[in-house]
Amino acid sequence: MTQVFGFVLSLVLTFAALFVALKTSLSFQTIIWIIGSLAVVQAALQLFMFMHLKEGEDGSTQTINIIYGVFIAAVTVAGSIWVMSFGM
């Protein structure tokens, strides 16, 4: 059943992120990249396995809308950090 698989995978990803963040001595930059990637994978898992983003008659419309939302989100967050990092 996809629900159980998705749940177990989410737990694994959560504890993997916890382990990388608190139990390893990698550099701060490396840790952020690893746990950030794990978060994106887990979010995608929720969207596709639990929310069935691509399914239904309007699956492609929904997908394009969410991709656009994610794009604006990425520009807002990365842009803010980039702009505000000058002069610090």
């Binding site: 992120a17 952020i32 746990i35 309007d58 809308n65 969410i66 939302g69 989100a73 807002t76 803010s80």
Partner: protein
Amino acid sequence: MSANVNTSLPLEFQTEQNRMNILGFWIFLGAEIVLFATLFATYSVLSTRYAGGPTPHELFEINGVMIETILLLTSSFTCGLAIYEMHKENLKGLLTWLIITLLLGLGFVGMEISEFITYVHEGATMQTSAFLSSFFVLLGTHGLHVSMGIGWATMVIIQMVKRGLTPVTARKIFIIGLYWHFLDVVWIFIFTFVYLKGMV
């Protein structure tokens, strides 16, 4: 609008109106992504401005955060099981899993409120520093979403108990399910970029 009924689809997709409402809700979720993005952007920029107040290292406790995370993650799973039972037209299973979902949600909100109270007692209030202002706004907005979700789902459950499983109630359950999963998606990023990042 109730024309164009296709009974071969799951209940929530059977009418034109239902399909439009579900598409509309996805568009709302797109806007919610952007709303939370502005709060994450603010937090990311201000997260190191402590103004002499407590730092994330001094404040955050991993055990409480992990319990909150597991509660919300499990509630997202049980919510998925509720929709699964709905597709089997098992009303009792649907209700059971939905109520478990809401109890887990209540547990999450309770943990978060006690976490905030602890912070305030330690002298970490919204007015203490830019870090804490943006922290409380981001976390508070998410917590408010969860609380409103609990109230909303309770009303939908009452309606379903009264009217039974129809295309209309099935669509409402399906939409609150999408909302609930979305709140877990937001929490994944709070867990990663607020808590874990603050404790590295």
